[in-house]
C-alpha cells in the first residue's frame, strides 16, 4: 500500500505507465488501489475512534502506579479487577443505579404511551383543528429548551418537586416529545387505512384499532423511539443537575462527579465507574442495532 502511494507520485509511475499502459490504467488496478486505500483509511480512523475506549478499559484495570508510566502500558500487568468493586463502593453506586433506572424506565413508558396515542390521533382520527395542532407540534420541534428551562424550574419549585425524580419523569407523560410524535405519526400514516375500516365495520373501537392494529404494526419504530429515549435519559445530565440536590436521589451522571470532588483524582476508579455506566447503553445498542439504524435512517433521510 505504501509502495503504491509513493509510486503514484513519482516519475516511476509515469515511466511504468509508458511501458505498460494497459496495466496501470486498467480499471482493475485502479479499483484495487482505491480499495486498499479505503481499507487503510478506515483502519486508521477506526483505530483513532477505538483508542479512547481501549484507553479507558486499560486504565480501569491498572494498579495505581502503572497509570503514570511512560511509555504507557496498554495491557495492564497485573490486571487489577478489584478496581471495579473499589470504585463502585466508593460512592453509593447501587442507589444511583436504581434512581437512574427509575427515571429511565418511567420516562420511556411515558414517552411511548403518550407519543403513540397523540400520534395516532394525528394520523388517523379526524377532528376540527387537527392540522393546526400538528403544525404547532412541528414548530415546537425547533423551540428552544433553554428558554423554558428557568420557568419550568419555577413550576416544579412551586409544586415542591425540587429534589425529587418527578421533574425528570412527569413531563414525558404529556405528549412524549414533539419529535417522537412527529416520527410516530409519519410511520402510522404509512399503515393502510383499510385495516382500520375493516376493524371498524367489525365493531372495533378507536382505542381497539390503536391497540390491535397500529401498535402491533409499528413495533420497529416504537423500538427506535424507546432506544433513543433510553440513551437520552441514561445520559441526561443538565436536568438532574438542576433538580436534584440530595445524594440519595442522585442519578449515575451526577454520582460520577463525586469522583472529581476528591483532592486527587482516582483515575483507575473513575475509568472503572465510567465503563460500568457506559455498559448498559453499549449492550442495548449491541442487541438493538437494527432498530437504532432504522430509526436514524427514518429520521435523517425521510424525516
Amino acid at each position: 500500500m505504501k509502495f503504491d502511494g509513493i509510486a503514484k507520485n513519482t516519475g516511476l509511475e509515469a515511466s511504468r505507465r509508458m511501458a505498460a499502459p494497459s496495466l496501470w490504467t486498467s480499471k482493475r488496478w485502479q479499483g484495487r488501489l482505491s480499495l486498499v486505500l479505503t481499507y487503510a483509511l478506515l483502519l486508521f480512523f477506526g483505530a483513532l475512534v477505538t483508542l479512547p475506549f481501549l484507553w479507558m478499559l486499560s486504565t480501569s484495570l491498572k494498579q495505581m502506579d502503572d497509570i503514570f508510566l511512560f511509555p504507557p502500558k496498554w495491557i495492564p500487568d497485573p490486571i487489577v479487577w478489584s478496581n471495579y468493586p473499589r470504585a463502585l463502593s466508593k460512592v453509593p453506586f447501587l442507589l444511583f443505579f436504581k434512581n437512574t433506572f427509575i427515571v429511565t424506565f418511567f420516562a420511556i413508558i411515558g414517552t411511548l404511551l403518550s407519543a403513540s396515542l397523540v400520534a395516532y390521533s394525528f394520523a388517523r382520527l379526524r377532528w376540527p383543528g387537527r392540522d393546526i395542532c400538528f403544525f404547532i407540534v412541528l414548530t415546537t420541534l425547533m423551540l428552544p429548551h433553554q428558554v423554558t428551562l428557568i420557568p419550568q424550574f419555577i413550576i416544579f419549585r412551586e409544586l415542591n418537586w425540587i429534589d425529587t425524580l418527578l421533574p425528570l419523569i412527569v413531563p414525558w407523560f404529556f405528549g412524549g416529545g414533539a419529535f417522537n410524535i412527529f416520527l410516530l405519526r409519519q410511520f402510522f400514516i404509512t399503515i393502510p387505512e383499510e385495516l382500520d375500516d375493516a376493524a371498524r365495520i367489525d365493531g372495533c373501537s378507536y382505542l381497539g384499532i390503536y391497540a390491535r392494529i397500529i401498535i402491533p404494526m409499528s413495533r420497529p419504530v416504537l423500538a427506535a423511539v424507546a432506544i433513543f429515549a433510553f440513551q437520552n435519559h441514561w445520559n441526561e445530565f443538565l436536568l438532574p443537575l438542576i433538580y436534584i440536590h440530595s445524594r440519595s436521589r442522585y442519578t449515575l451522571a451526577l454520582g460520577l462527579r463525586l469522583f472529581q470532588e476528591q483532592y486527587w483524582v482516582d483515575w483507575s476508579g473513575l475509568m472503572a465507574a465510567s465503563t460500568v455506566i457506559m455498559l448498559p447503553v453499549l449492550l442495548v445498542f449491541y442487541f438493538a442495532q437494527r432498530y437504532f439504524i432504522q430509526g436514524i435512517v427514518f429520521t435523517g433521510v425521510k424525516g
Partner: protein, 312 residues
C-alpha cells in the same frame, strides 16, 4: 366518506354522530400533549419573556426593571461577549469538521467492502455513549502529563500542551472531542448514500467520468439534502454545548471555554439571577435562530431536491 357511512349503518349510528364521536376521541387523545404544550412550553415561554424584564433571586419577589437586563447584556457585561465569541469559534470549527468528516467516512464505507456493518458500529459507538462518563474519559485523555493524547504526541517528539488549562488550546480540545462523535452524522450520510440511484453512476461511467467527477457531480448534489440536515442539526447542537464544558472546565481557564449555555446555567442556578438568565436564554435562542435561518436561506443555492428524493 362512503366507508364511514357503511361503518355507521353497520353500527346503527347516524353518520354525523359517528363523526362527532371520532372527533371527541381524537381531541381526548391529543389532550395530554396540548396540556403539556400549555404548561411546559407556551406558558414557560411567556413567563420567560416577563422574567427577562425583572430582577429575581427566587427569595424576594420579582422586581420589574424594564430593559435593564438587556441593556446590561448588550453594553455592560464583557462576559457575554466572551461567551458569544468562544461558542461561535467552537461551532465554526466543530461543525464543518463534523459535516465533512462524517461525509468522508460515509463515502469510504459505502463501497463494496467486507465487515461493513461492523465498521459502521465501531464509528457509531462514541455517539451512543455521550454523557458524563464520556466527559470523564476525555478529562483523562487530555491530562497534560499522563493523558493518552499527550503520550501519543510524545511518541512523535511533540511536547503536548496542557489542553484544558491553557486558554489557547481548550477550545481545540472540545473540537477534538466533538470530532470523536463524527459517526453520528456518518450513519445519516450512509442512509442518504444508499438512496442515490445506481443508474446515475452507471451512466456517468459509460460517459467516462472518473470517481472524483462522479462524487462531485452525482453524489454531492444527490445527498445535499442530507448534508443540509446534518449541518442544521450540528449547528444547533454545537451552539448549545454544555455537559462537557461543565464537567471538564467549568468555563475556565479565564473563561476561555465559557460557552453560552454554561454562562446561562451559572447565572440562573449558581448566582440565582433568574431575570438576567432569562434574558440570556432569549439571546441564545435568537442567535441559534439567526444562524439556522442563514443556513436555510443559503440552502436554495446548494441543496438539490430531486422529485424522487423528496418524495421518499
Amino acid at each position: 366518506m362512503a366507508v364511514r357511512a357503511s361503518i355507521a349503518s353497520r353500527l346503527n349510528l347516524p353518520a354525523g354522530r359517528l363523526a362527532r364521536r371520532e372527533a371527541l376521541v381524537g381531541v381526548l387523545l391529543v389532550m395530554p400533549w396540548f396540556v403539556g404544550f400549555l404548561i411546559f412550553l407556551l406558558g414557560p415561554m411567556l413567563v420567560s419573556v416577563y422574567l427577562s424584564f425583572t430582577d429575581w433571586d427566587l427569595l424576594t419577589p420579582a422586581k420589574f426593571v424594564g430593559l435593564k437586563n438587556y441593556r446590561k447584556m448588550i453594553f455592560e457585561d464583557p462576559l457575554i461577549k466572551q461567551a458569544l465569541k468562544v461558542t461561535t469559534i467552537y461551532a465554526f470549527s466543530a461543525v464543518p469538521l463534523r459535516v465533512v468528516g462524517g461525509l468522508l467516512l460515509a463515502v469510504l464505507l459505502n463501497q463494496n467492502i467486507k465487515l461493513k456493518s461492523f465498521i459502521r458500529t465501531v464509528f457509531y459507538l462514541p455517539s451512543v455513549v455521550s454523557g458524563v462518563a464520556v466527559a470523564m474519559l476525555w478529562l483523562w485523555i487530555f491530562n497534560s502529563d499522563f493523558g493518552l493524547l499527550n503520550l501519543i504526541l510524545n511518541l512523535f517528539g511533540i511536547p503536548g500542551p496542557a489542553w484544558l488549562s491553557d486558554t489557547r488550546y481548550v477550545l481545540a480540545a472540545f473540537v477534538i472531542m466533538s470530532l470523536w462523535g463524527v459517526g453520528g452524522s456518518m450513519v445519516i450520510y450512509l442512509a442518504g448514500l444508499q438512496g442515490v440511484p445506481t443508474d446515475l453512476y452507471e451512466a456517468a461511467e459509460v460517459d467516462g467520468a472518473n470517481s472524483l467527477t462522479r462524487f462531485w457531480y452525482i453524489t454531492l448534489p444527490m445527498i445535499s439534502p442530507v448534508i443540509f440536515f446534518n449541518l442544521v442539526m450540528s449547528i444547533i447542537a454545537a451552539l448549545q454545548i454544555f455537559n462537557q464544558a461543565y464537567i471538564m472546565t467549568q468555563g475556565g481557564p479565564q473563561n476561555a471555554s465559557m460557552f453560552m449555555m454554561l454562562y446561562l446555567y451559572f447565572n440562573a442556578f449558581e448566582y440565582f439571577k433568574m431575570g438576567y438568565a432569562s434574558a440570556l436564554a432569549w439571546l441564545i435562542f435568537f442567535y441559534i435562530l439567526a444562524l439556522t435561518l442563514l443556513v436555510f436561506r443559503s440552502s436554495s443555492h446548494w441543496v438539490f431536491y430531486t422529485g424522487s428524493v423528496r418524495g421518499k
